[in-house]
């Protein structure tokens, strides 16, 4: 009896060891490309490193963080980033859901529908950003020639109109990704449940809110997590369209400017580390508080 037991646990142990061994190359590669830069950024953020004054280096503790957190710029940029993320991810979620439902129910031309929906996602962000910028350019863009829009509206000359173009570009570009993730969740729902709900007297809207949405919760959370993390690090679109003018700067752009334009590696690294902390917090929030339970009661 006890021999059988040890035999099993031996097998389990060696299987586990094999598992670790098989993971090791990937784990080491991951550590090399992520842990090292993160660690190095943390080290830099605790020092005064300014490439313009290479001699004035040294350990300064949390001084860089203090400088960042006490500056208005950081808080404006953080607000911008959160504002852009929340608005664009919400729009993407709604639009993505509609598109996913259409793709799921499409009777003819499924392949064509799914492929065409994905096209924006296949375009490089910078290219997409330029296209949208040209479309909204005050003089040459076609948007201002549409009816009901002032011919000389300067979209990028004011904070919230600039935001709206940025959001549109972001939404256009990443909704397909959202739709695809949601579609994956949608296909896992048994069609029989809809029949049961119809017989139980549910209208189309009730079927959506009481069957589809609750059962898609895991897929929605994954989609939201991916997209929020992505949106929080928004860079390319803003960089192309306004480069942070009219108070449209995001935290990523702030970090970039400290590092690359001002060559202040200490401050820039502190900004990067703070962004990393925010992202980590968002991830933990989604996984821990919202995603811990499956709708059928089993835990993930």
């Amino acid at each position: 009896m006890s021999q059988v037991k040890t035999a099993i646990s031996d097998r389990a142990r060696s299987e586990r060891r094999l598992g670790w061994l098989l993971c090791a190359p990937a784990a080491i590669a991951m550590l090399a490309v992520t842990a090292y830069p993160i660690g190095y950024a943390i080290v830099l953020s605790l020092q005064q490193v300014d490439l313009r004054f290479p001699d004035e280096g040294g350990f300064v503790g949390l001084q860089n963080y203090g400088a960042v957190l006490s500056s208005d710029l950081w808080w404006t940029d953080l607000f911008n980033t959160i504002f852009l993320s929340v608005i664009s991810v919400s729009i993407e979620l709604c639009l993505g859901m509609v598109i996913a439902l259409v793709m799921h129910r499409a009777i003819f031309g499924r392949g064509v529908v799914r492929t065409s929906v994905l096209i924006p996602y296949g375009i490089v962000t910078v290219v997409a950003a330029f296209s949208w910028q040209f479309a909204f350019a005050p003089d040459t863009g076609f948007i201002n020639h549409l009816p009901f829009i002032a011919d000389d509206k300067d979209w990028f000359g004011e904070r919230f109109s600039a935001f709206s173009v940025i959001i549109m570009a972001e939404v256009w570009k990443t909704t397909p990704f959202m739709a695809l993730l949601l579609l994956a969740g949608l296909t896992t729902i048994d069609d029989g449940l809809y029949d049961a709900a119809k017989v139980d007297g549910a209208s189309a809207w009730q079927r959506f809110t009481r069957i589809t949405l609750p059962l898609m919760k895991p897929a929605i959370l994954v989609a939201l997590l991916f997209r929020t993390l992505d949106a929080f690090r928004i860079f390319d679109t803003i960089f192309i369209m306004t480069n942070g003018a009219q108070d449209t700067q995001s935290v990523s752009i702030l970090g970039y400017q400290q590092l690359i334009s001002r060559l202040n590696l200490g401050l820039g690294s502190a900004v990067s580390v703070l962004i990393f902390v925010c992202v980590l917090f968002i991830a933990v929030f989604f996984v821990k508080f919202l995603g811990a339970r499956q709708p059928d009661g089993s835990s993930t």
Binding site: A196, V199, D200, I211, G297
Partner: protein
């Protein structure tokens, strides 16, 4: 409380396939009607049309005297039990059972009372706050039943509700379903492909084949008085033997025996002709065990090539030795009886008492009841009746 009437109801699917062909069926108020037939014959389609989950292509469907062709399922006041139960995985048993009432905006306390009452009937009280994923198959089945009965609908529609249970539980639940229906007295349409279930459950059984209703009758009449080869072969287990025969002046010549005909059968044959003769396995006997009735029947000898013992009975098989079994196979396959069409037509199965000395490879003297023969037309497969 409602009767369900199908008047020439037809279903044509988008790809042009006619799954249900001009079906006429009247289900009386409170009746337990079984729809039975082989896989793919259109039972679920018919049921889904009654439920409103499939559109009716032609014909008229009325529930409780009102034509409901164009009503959505929610306006038909029917409840359905699905083969895979279709329980909502994100809701507890209580929420599952109360869902329809909640949608109907019934008062919360009333819902609770009704759900608890149904749960008590179905022995689910202690599971009310669990999720379906954590229940056993039988419990899930009962939740599905419970979801239907709390609504007190005009009719229950059940699509193979027991087919996902193991054999023993199926028999147990079969009894429970029958009792429940009896007690509630709600009109019920019950779909199954299992003819045993059909025979034991219903007031009346409707037999379908390839979208066409073959016969609607009580289980006893279906068994003893089938209208054609298909119904005769589909109902009963093991199924009826079909043997090619030649009627000749008051007798039918079967390959292994010549049997004198009574007046009924003479009338059915209507003169000398070819027939397919149907004999149920239990109408054969071991001649040694028949006793006083020996003179009432015909005896013959045959070499047994297989014996299956069921404990309470024996199935003994012999070759009919017919030269014409090809014709029987043809007729059977035309009638849609795949099992026989597969080349079994030459085999005759007999059901003998366990005391019988039937042994594989030995010759046994059989007795057959001449009054229990059925004649079918080899061309059309229809029953020949006087």
């Amino acid at each position: 409380m409602a009767e369900i009437v199908l008047d020439k109801v037809t279903k044509k699917y988008g790809d042009g396939y006619e799954a249900v062909k001009s079906m006429d069926l009247e289900i009386a108020d409170g009746e337990f009607m079984i729809l039975v037939g082989p896989s793919g014959c259109g039972k679920s389609t018919a049921l889904n049309m009654i439920a409103g989950l499939e559109d009716i292509s032609e014909g008229e469907l009325s529930i409780g005297g009102e034509v409901v062709n164009n009503r959505a399922p929610r306006d038909r006041d029917i409840a359905m039990v699905f083969q895979n139960y279709a329980l909502y995985p994100h809701m507890t048993v209580r929420e599952n059972m109360g869902f329809a009432l909640k949608l109907a905006k019934v008062d919360g306390k009333e819902i609770d009372a009704k759900v608890e009452e149904a749960a008590a009937t179905l022995d689910l009280t202690e599971h009310l706050d669990r999720k379906p994923a954590n229940l056993s198959g039988g419990q899930r089945q009962r939740v599905a039943m419970g979801r239907a009965i709390v609504r007190e609908p005009k009719a229950f529609l059940m699509d193979e509700p027991l087919s996902n249970l193991d054999a023993k539980l199926r028999v147990q639940m079969r009894t429970e379903v029958a009792e429940l229906q009896d007690r509630l007295g709600t009109t019920t349409v019950y779909v199954t492909h299992d003819q045993t279930e059909a025979m034991t459950l219903g007031d009346r059984v409707a037999v379908m084949k390839s979208g066409v209703l073959q016969q609607v009758d009580s289980p006893g009449n279906l068994y003893n008085d089938p209208v054609n080869l298909f119904v005769a072969g589909f109902i009963g287990s093991p199924s009826m033997n079909f043997i090619h025969g030649q009627v000749n002046g008051g007798e039918v010549e079967l390959p292994f025996a010549t049997i004198p005909l009574n007046d009924d059968l003479k009338g059915a044959a209507g003169g000398d002709r070819e027939v397919i003769c149907g004999i149920r396995p239990e109408h054969f006997e071991d001649a040694e065990l028949i006793g006083d009735h020996l003179g009432d029947g015909v005896t013959f000898e045959a070499k047994i090539n297989l014996v299956e013992s069921m404990g309470s009975e024996l199935y003994a098989y012999f070759e009919s030795g017919s030269e014409e079994s090809g014709k029987v196979e043809e007729a059977a396959s035309a009638a849609g009886l795949e099992a026989l069409a597969g080349g079994d037509a030459g085999q005759v199965v007999t059901r003998l008492p366990p005391e019988s000395k039937a042994k594989r490879g030995e010759t046994l003297k059989f007795w057959v009841d001449p009054d229990r023969l059925l004649f079918f037309d080899p061309e059309s497969g229809n029953r020949l009746k006087s």
